[in-house]
Amino acid sequence: MLVKATGLKKHYTIQKGFFSNEKRVVHALDGVDIEINEHETVGLVGESGCGKSTVGRLLIGLIKPTSGTVQFMGSDIFELEKDELNKIRKDMQIIFQDPYASLNPRKTVRQILSRPFIVHNRAQGDMEGTILDLLEEVGISPAHRYIDRYPHEFSGGQKQRVAIARALALQPKFVVADEAVSALDISIRAQILNLMKELGDKFGTTFLFISHDLSVVRSFCDKIIVMYLGKIVESTDVETLFTSPLHPYTKALLSATPIPNPRSTRGSKRIILVGDVPSPIDIPVGCRFNTRCPYAFDKCREEEPILRKKGESCVACHLY
């Protein structure tokens, strides 16, 4: 097992008003267990505010959990000494959604891509050759013409390629892709997905692929985890999730996703959820989904369901 997270919680305390002393707690993440095997691509899906990005950041140690542990190749990353953690860090990387924001506008591509090598003391020998190879690898070619350019001289798709090159520079074992293709046009999105797949296979990278778009994870991932309001509601392999979803929220998500085929979408019955996702400050009592669930009954309003094994899947719902 590459990554194993147990009982992860992340709460943020906020002040109610500027002058008020009253504190309120945002339950960004409320007890999540995740296991990711080597060479596996895991998709993490859910709507905004469900805690999926928080999970991504916790798993690579960018933020500290309120409670819970994260083990990376057997060692607890929040217990490690600083220099030990730094050593492990080169094996975990992240690609963010917005390449405009994640690349420093005042640094050239050469500077951006040599940073990982410098930080991890790997900057010996022919750095220029390494960076040129890296650029060619992510499809920015001819690389020598682009190496001294600044981010604003690239298109959105090319910038994301640079961000991918940076993340894969040290051939990490584990990469978190946080909505890495959401900001891209569809033809570019397909190119970037192909690139990540190809490089992932080549270097044996394990991906945690965070997305709100189910059609993207359908083609890219082996295993899917569905989150709602800081908890996992269902997790299973990709085929099972799309052919026989169990949790009402998963069903609603699938039913809500538009399908690019006019014959399959017209006139079909859909599950339409009413209302918005509740605030993570005031989490509903009982099952978190009960306020929007079309099947909710008394027990759902009283007792919170736990994630249980059901056939091929794990699901947190009183219906099962």
């Binding site: 033809s187 397909a190 190119q191 189910l214 399908i259 085929n261 006019p262 959820l273």
Partner: protein, 326 residues
């Protein structure tokens, strides 16, 4: 669209909108013809930077000039050429007969005005409604677009509403004067999946229940497949293919349309490898010679480099701009 000639609400003929920037000239909309029949939903599809929004904004003359300039063309709406109207005459139509819903509701709602006042402004501008009746009308509209507790929402400021609710407010505002044409520019792109579904269902219901037409601008093929009757595919300022929704999805002929369809992911199938399009949308400041799509086209012949293909008719309602179809 021969069959719908008599039933035409809006018809755009040879529309050209160029931007004059310090770096050069951008041919954002370069000779576009399109037609929107009554009570139909028409989709304008393409990637960012291909001129979709510029087309929509040119139709209602909302682009700032300079830097933009509408050089040529006609926009016939109920027989009147919108490009020839005076600003005053145009204001009678804009917001009343033609209204627009934009992608990002936060940018288009005034943050310091109450929701009720913002919708009321549109109504008072265009309709002979008494001040006292306006509030009742606003509440009705908000209820019509599915906003719970409409009585209270009237008194809210935009920041007190969620993204989906703000989009509903914009739609309510667009509907306030019973327009015959609503232009929606990426109305659900900024929303979450389940909220997007609510808005899509609302749009579908509105098209069915009223006699308005819809022009939907989007890059999401899933959304057009569901909502639109007829689709225009736009690339680098030009229409490259147009046909009814089934023809586009099942018998598209232009390599760009096919590439878009091949790039579109669906929850219905697992695709091992995506065969999409290489390269990216060209810089409109220095567009390619000949067919604008030839640098990305795998079947490009010599003629594609040299000369731009004309839009040819394949069937009664299927047109394509490609040399391979000659």
């Amino acid at each position: 669209m021969e069959s719908t000639q008599g039933n035409e609400l809006l018809s755009v003929k040879n529309l050209k909108t160029y931007f004059y920037l310090s770096q050069g000239q951008v041919k954002a909309v370069d000779g576009i013809d399109l037609s929107i029949p009554r009570q139909k939903a028409v989709g304008l599809v393409g990637e960012s930077g291909c001129g979709k929004s510029a087309t929509a904004l040119s139709i209602v003359r909302l682009l700032p000039s300079p830097p933009s300039k509408i050089l040529d063309g006609k926009v016939l709406f109920k027989g009147k050429d919108l490009l020839k109207l005076s600003e005053k005459e145009l204001r009678e139509i804009r917001g009343k007969e033609i209204s627009i819903v934009f992608q990002d509701p936060m940018t288009f709602l005034n943050p310091v005005l109450k929701i009720g006042d913002q919708i009321g402004e549109t109504i008072l501008e265009h309709q002979p409604v008494k001040k006292g009746e306006v509030k009742r009308k606003i509440v009705e509209l908000l209820e019509h677009v599915g906003i719970p507790g409409a009585q209270d929402v009237v008194e809210y400021y935009p920041h007190q509403l969620s993204g989906g609710m703000r989009q509903r407010v914009l739609i309510a505002m667009a509907l306030s004067c019973n327009p015959s044409l609503v232009i929606m520019d990426e109305p659900t792109t900024a929303l979450d999946v389940t909220i997007q579904r609510q808005i899509l269902e609302l749009i579908k219901r509105l098209i069915e229940d009223s006699d308005m037409s819809l022009m939907l601008i989007t890059h999401d093929l899933g959304v057009v497949a569901e909502i639109c009757d007829y689709i225009y595919i736009m690339y680098a300022g030009r229409i490259v293919e147009h046909a009814d929704v089934y023809t586009i999805f099942e018998a598209a002929r232009h390599p760009y349309t096919r590439g878009l369809l091949a790039s579109a992911l669906s929850i219905e199938e697992h695709r091992e490898e995506l065969v999409g399009l290489d390269g990216s949308v060209p810089d409109l400041m220095a567009p390619p010679s000949g067919c604008k799509f030839h640098p990305r086209c795998s079947n490009a012949k010599d003629v594609c480099w040299e000369e731009e293909p004309p839009l040819v008719q394949l069937e009664s309602s299927h047109f394509v701009r490609c040399w391979l179809e000659r």
